[in-house]
């Protein structure tokens, strides 16, 4: 690879300070504070309308903040226009200029920066090579597949050697196979170029797979920010627990720093949870399953009502009579207990979170 591209490998710190955006009285983004380390990839994850795209657009300068600051490398860019912020952006919708070839698209940003033609061609060629499309330089957007278009868009965003790369659900319009491949490619290119990246998605698998840290957003607020493993295994709030991955809602009682669910004592993510009736959020993979006659089986007896094949693992739905429980396990183990069979469940003592808010609301 050429020196020109390598010279881009200098990510800057991106700091969002108390960002707030209000649309006609509706708070879309509420006091978002977030710092991205140089070269880090942070994914903002959340349901539609949670404010993640608003945050991205404020960083890009495509929307105006109501209050708060955006700083790139310590410089306040809050009032700078989108064309002066030096960000590269890949959009959810296909955004290649239809009247230009792939090469011309990639060179567009360089042209705006008055880079001479020879260097433009060289750098555009390099970027197309990085995304594996050097043979497609003369193709128009309509001659490229969706995945190829997004790769050209990525090359175009990176060609200007921006301070920050912003990805606004760039994979959501693609089919599952292409999505997985392109997701890995985005990560590879991001690491290769070393650019600070903010990635917005509603797909938890995508966020957990690609990001150094994941920020889970809900109703305009950042609920939790942390490494993917922490977000998954130690969710800070019931919303995070239920939005990221599947959870079983099981009634129990908090007592002595743990929660007792159907006889099983489970540690708490937050040991200071007040005592009393509660709903424990238990991950399906923390539920193990054995045949009814198996002596090693747990104390909970139920009937398998469905087995969903997921590839290497399967998800088994068990009816305990008063509650439905999901269990996830290797397919070989799940296939031993087809629908209709009686099984015994064991809850692994992984730390669980309590859906305290809803319990309190129900009691009220």
């Amino acid at each position: 690879m050429s020196t020109t591209t390598r010279s881009a490998a200098t990510g800057v710190e991106v700091r969002l300070e108390h960002l707030r955006r209000v649309f006609a009285g509706v708070v879309a983004l509420d006091e978002l504070s977030l710092t991205l380390a140089p070269g880090e990839l942070v994914a903002l994850l959340g349901p539609s309308g949670c404010g993640k795209t608003t945050a991205l657009r404020l960083v890009a300068g495509l929307d105006e903040v109501t209050s708060g600051k955006v700083l790139f490398g310590g410089t306040d860019v809050t009032t700078l226009g989108a064309n002066k912020r030096d960000v590269g952006m890949v959009f959810q919708a296909y955004s290649l200029f239809p009247h230009m070839t792939a090469m011309q698209n990639v060179a567009f940003g360089l042209r705006m920066r008055h880079v001479d033609e020879q260097e433009r061609r060289q750098r555009s060629g390099e970027m197309l090579e990085i995304v594996g499309l050097s043979g497609f330089a003369d193709r128009f957007a309509h001659q490229l597949s969706g995945g190829q278009q997004q790769r050209v868009a990525l090359a175009r965003a990176l060609a200007i050697q921006p301070k920050v790369l912003l990805l606004d659900e760039p994979l959501s319009a693609l089919d599952a196979k292409v999505r997985g491949r392109l997701r890995d490619e985005i990560r590879r290119v991001q690491l290769e170029v070393g650019i600070t990246t903010l990635f917005v998605t509603h797909d938890q698998e995508e966020a957990l797979a690609i990001a150094d840290r994941v920020g889970v957003m809900n109703k305009g607020r950042l609920e939790q920010l942390g490494p993917p493993t922490t977000i998954y295994s130690r969710p800070a709030t019931p919303f995070v627990a239920e939005f990221v991955g599947l959870t079983n809602r099981m009634e129990g009682e908090v007592k002595g720093g743990e929660v007792i669910v159907r006889g099983a004592r489970l540690p708490l993510v937050k040991p200071d949870t007040p005592e009393g009736p509660a709903v424990a959020l238990v991950r399906p993979e923390a539920v193990s399953l054995a045949s009814d006659g198996d002596a090693s089986g747990g104390p909970l007896v139920g009937t398998v009502i469905a087995v969903a094949f997921l590839g290497a693992t399967s998800r088994v739905t068990v009816d305990l009579g008063d509650v439905i429980v999901l269990a996830q396990m290797p397919t070989s183990q799940a296939s031993a207990n087809p629908a209709g069979s009686r099984v015994r469940l064991t809850l692994r003592p992984d730390p669980v979170l309590i859906a305290r808010d809803e319990t309190a609301a129900a009691e009220a």
């Binding site: 590269g88 955004s95 009247h99 567009f108």
Partner: protein
């Protein structure tokens, strides 16, 4: 589809085409025939009426003025309407219906009513600024708004304006560059349509010019007809053919441009 049915369909198409062609061409043919009559019942055919066009000074001046007006009106229309429509679509979507209503309103107001309303303004313009016929372009701008709006609206609806402009902005393009390098090249057919429709309308306009005492092509044709019916008909045929050629350009060139800048696919 069976062969016999296909043949019947082709015959039907040919008949419809011939009727449509006759509807337009017979009157033009008759006008051409009239313009080539000699003086006297038995006089031979002559092109003297056509030859008189360039040598009739007021006619030549009026043709030039009308062509200038057509060009100025088209340019003014694009300069005013396109950025406005883009801005409204991107930033002021609540105003979209109001802009549409304003642009389409001239369709519902007869030209003569418009002239009555606008005449005091033109008197003031001619007394204080200029009495050039080119001032008519402001009035014509109102007349062409509905046609130009519809054409540009269709062009803008066919592209993902928001994403394209935001992509260009994030790459460092200012608004001028966004318009010239991204928006305009992606709707060439709509811009051509709007321009040629405007030009055709201006070339055929009579009421405004006549009532405001300006001599454009149509007014000049009417004057010339008082002294030389043949020449006036010759000019009318020529202007009709010119408008016809413009519309041909519109449909063929527009189609080609559309092919050269196709939309992306999923």
């Amino acid at each position: 589809m069976t062969g016999a049915r296909r043949v019947r369909l082709q015959i039907l198409r040919a008949v419809i085409f011939l009727f449509a062609a006759a509807f337009f061409l017979v009157p033009i043919g008759a006008m051409f025939e009239f313009s080539t009559r000699g003086i006297g019942v038995t006089a031979p055919r002559t092109l003297s009426a056509w030859a008189a066009i360039p040598s009739t000074p007021e006619l030549a001046t009026a043709i030039t003025a009308s062509l200038e007006l057509a060009a100025i009106t088209s340019i003014m229309m694009l300069a005013l309407l396109l950025p406005t429509m883009v801005w409204v679509r991107l930033r002021l979507q609540g105003l979209n219906r109001i802009i549409e209503f304003i642009c389409l309103m001239p369709l519902t107001v007869p030209a003569i009513a418009l002239v009555v309303g606008i005449k005091p303004l033109y008197i003031w313009i001619s007394l204080n600024f200029t009495d050039s016929i080119l001032a008519l372009a402001f009035g014509y701008l109102i007349l062409v708004l509905p046609y130009a709006y519809r054409s540009l609206d269709a062009g803008l609806a066919a592209i993902d304006l928001k994403t394209l402009t935001e992509a260009a902005r994030s790459l460092g393009a200012g608004w001028g560059t966004v318009m010239l390098r991204v928006v305009v090249p992606n709707m060439p057919s709509a811009i051509l349509n709007a321009s040629l429709l405007s030009a055709s309308l201006v070339l055929g306009e009579y009421t405004f010019a006549n009532l405001l005492n300006y001599e454009n092509l149509q007014v000049a044709i009417q004057y010339v007809s008082l002294v030389s019916a043949g020449t006036s008909i010759a000019v009318a045929v020529a202007s009709l053919l010119f408008a016809f050629v413009l519309l041909m350009i519109l449909s063929f060139a527009g189609g080609r441009l559309q092919v050269r800048s196709p939309r992306g696919r999923a």
